[in-house]
């Protein structure tokens, strides 16, 4: 579904990604694991078109997407839920969600999608008319995930979705990830909650200093000595 081939990305003069290649198949759940500053978020920025690679190619559903702008990539069916949510602060919860469905193809189904999002995050339903600026940190995170789902993406990329969520909500979120996959969505997950991310995903890539240093089935990576020591704190 997604094929990334020898991508190099820079932050100004600093080279953040070094010859990264990866693939994601349809309906897969794939995790990126790595410490802070390893390049995980930069990778998501590159796939979503916020940053452009200086070399390398990216194909989604057989079409080249490197060089496309973010709105074109959203239309292709890729959605990126950023860390911290970044809601529109002076819009209500419902208006923020509707903004997620602004693409013509999804606007028609927005009522149905809204219901779906409210079922997944009942707390948001209690706050439909509240301005996003007045939400707590965890509520903003939920709103951002809901807004992402509103575009009916084929591939959804979550950057630290459990950030700031209460333990119960983290559990609910990981269950809802599985539900989304059963409904046909492909998922790319960046998580500091390494154990849970590996338990739920099919495959994972371990990034260090902007390079892929390990990749494989998540179940095997959970047993890997380096992963255990560096990321699971064992």
């Amino acid at each position: 579904m997604l094929e990334v081939n020898k991508i190099n990305t820079f932050h100004g003069k600093i080279r953040a990604l070094w010859d990264i290649s990866l693939t994601i198949a349809e309906k897969e759940i794939v995790s990126f694991v790595g410490g802070n500053g390893a390049g995980k978020t930069t990778m998501l920025y590159t796939i979503s078109g916020i940053l452009h690679p200086t070399s390398g190619t990216m194909e989604f559903l057989g079409k080249r997407i490197d060089g496309m702008s973010p709105h074109q990539i959203v239309k292709m069916g890729i959605c990126f839920v950023q860390e911290g949510g970044k809601p529109f602060p002076d819009m209500t919860v419902q208006e923020n969600l509707e903004m997620g469905a602004y693409i013509r193809e999804t606007w028609r189904n927005k009522e149905e999608m809204l219901e779906h999002v409210y079922n997944t995050f009942p707390l948001l339903k209690q706050r439909v008319g509240q301005l996003a600026r007045t939400l707590s940190g965890g509520e903003r995170q939920m709103l951002a995930m809901g807004r992402g789902l509103m575009s009916r993406p084929r591939l959804c990329m979550f950057d630290e979705p459990s950030y700031g969520l209460a333990p119960l909500l983290v559990k609910i979120f990981f269950v809802s990830i599985k539900t989304l996959r059963e409904q046909g969505m492909t998922i790319l997950l960046v998580e500091q909650n390494v154990r849970q991310a590996l338990e739920i995903s099919d495959r994972a890539y371990v990034l260090e200093n902007g390079r892929v240093v390990l990749e494989g089935r998540s179940g095997q990576l959970l047993q890997n000595d380096h992963v255990k020591k560096a990321y699971l704190g064992l």
Binding site: G35, N36, G37, E83, G84, L123, T134, L135, S136, G137, G138, E139, Q141, M142, E160, Y163, G164, L165, A166, P167, L168, L169, V170, K171, I172, Q192, V194, R195, K229, A230, Y231, L232, G233
Partner: protein
């Protein structure tokens, strides 16, 4: 001795009681944890204590003095500092300058610039930012920005430190380092009041934990009591 005390503290936002009649206290030298579902009012309580918001009703005392309604800078001068859930640094200043701001502002008596620089360099080391003094704050990773917030808060020489989700977004290995840092801070004689969703950390460092739900205190106790409390499991921890 009670370093901080709240009596019947209440905060209304329009018709919504974000904090409803909450009473609490922290003993000197203690690490007190604050947990609760998202939107329970945890950060609002921190905002009331640190003076970012004024309570609608109730009294807050710090070292015996009534600080209700005081401004954040007045409360900081009295020996209380905090960090923020969504970091609030001076992005276009260097790491060292951010910390210097804390030491030059917070210390009650006058301080030589050279001493402040010395203090700041030591703090860099304590929080694990050695060698990064000249980097602009906005260029740090999120975790390092959080460490910098802790250093800036410590630079004001607080007796009470409020930490708002310092560990969110850390890998389990980084969490272990953060736990060590909090213990180090306590060992320097600083009382810590912390909001955290990372239970491994909460259970291992807290002396006591308070649970908020819809703005009300629904439980309080030592970590073991909280971890096995059926209501806390139902609304917060999950079975």
């Amino acid at each position: 001795m009670r370093i901080l005390e709240g009596e019947g503290v209440r905060k209304n936002f329009g018709g919504l009681a974000a904090i409803a009649e909450v009473s609490f206290h922290i003993n000197q030298g203690e690490i007190l944890g604050l947990i609760g579902p998202n939107g329970a009012g945890k950060t609002t309580l921190f905002n009331l204590i640190s003076g970012s918001l004024a309570p609608t009703a109730g009294i807050i005392r710090f070292k015996g003095e009534n600080i209700t309604g005081m401004k954040p800078h007045q409360i900081c001068k009295r020996g209380m500092a905090r960090t923020f859930q969504l970091v609030k640094l001076f992005g276009n200043m260097t790491v060292l300058q951010n910390i210097l701001l804390g030491s030059l502002f917070g210390t009650p008596k006058s301080i030589l610039q050279s001493d402040a620089v010395n203090d700041s360099s030591k703090l860099l080391e304590i929080v694990g930012l050695s060698g990064m003094g000249t980097i602009l704050a906005k260029d740090l990773t999120i975790v390092n920005q959080k460490r910098l917030e802790v250093a800036r808060a410590l630079a004001t020489k607080p007796e009470l430190l409020l930490l708002d989700e310092f560990m969110a977004g850390l890998t389990p290995t980084e969490v272990s380092l953060a736990i060590e840092l909090i213990k180090k801070i306590r060992d320097r004689g600083i009382t810590v009041f912390m909001i955290e969703h990372v239970m491994k950390a909460m259970m291992s460092v807290s002396d006591r934990i308070i649970v908020l739900h819809y703005g009300e205190k629904i439980a309080e106790g030592i970590p073991d009591e909280i971890a096995t409390n059926p209501i806390v499991i139902e609304i917060y921890l999950g079975a």
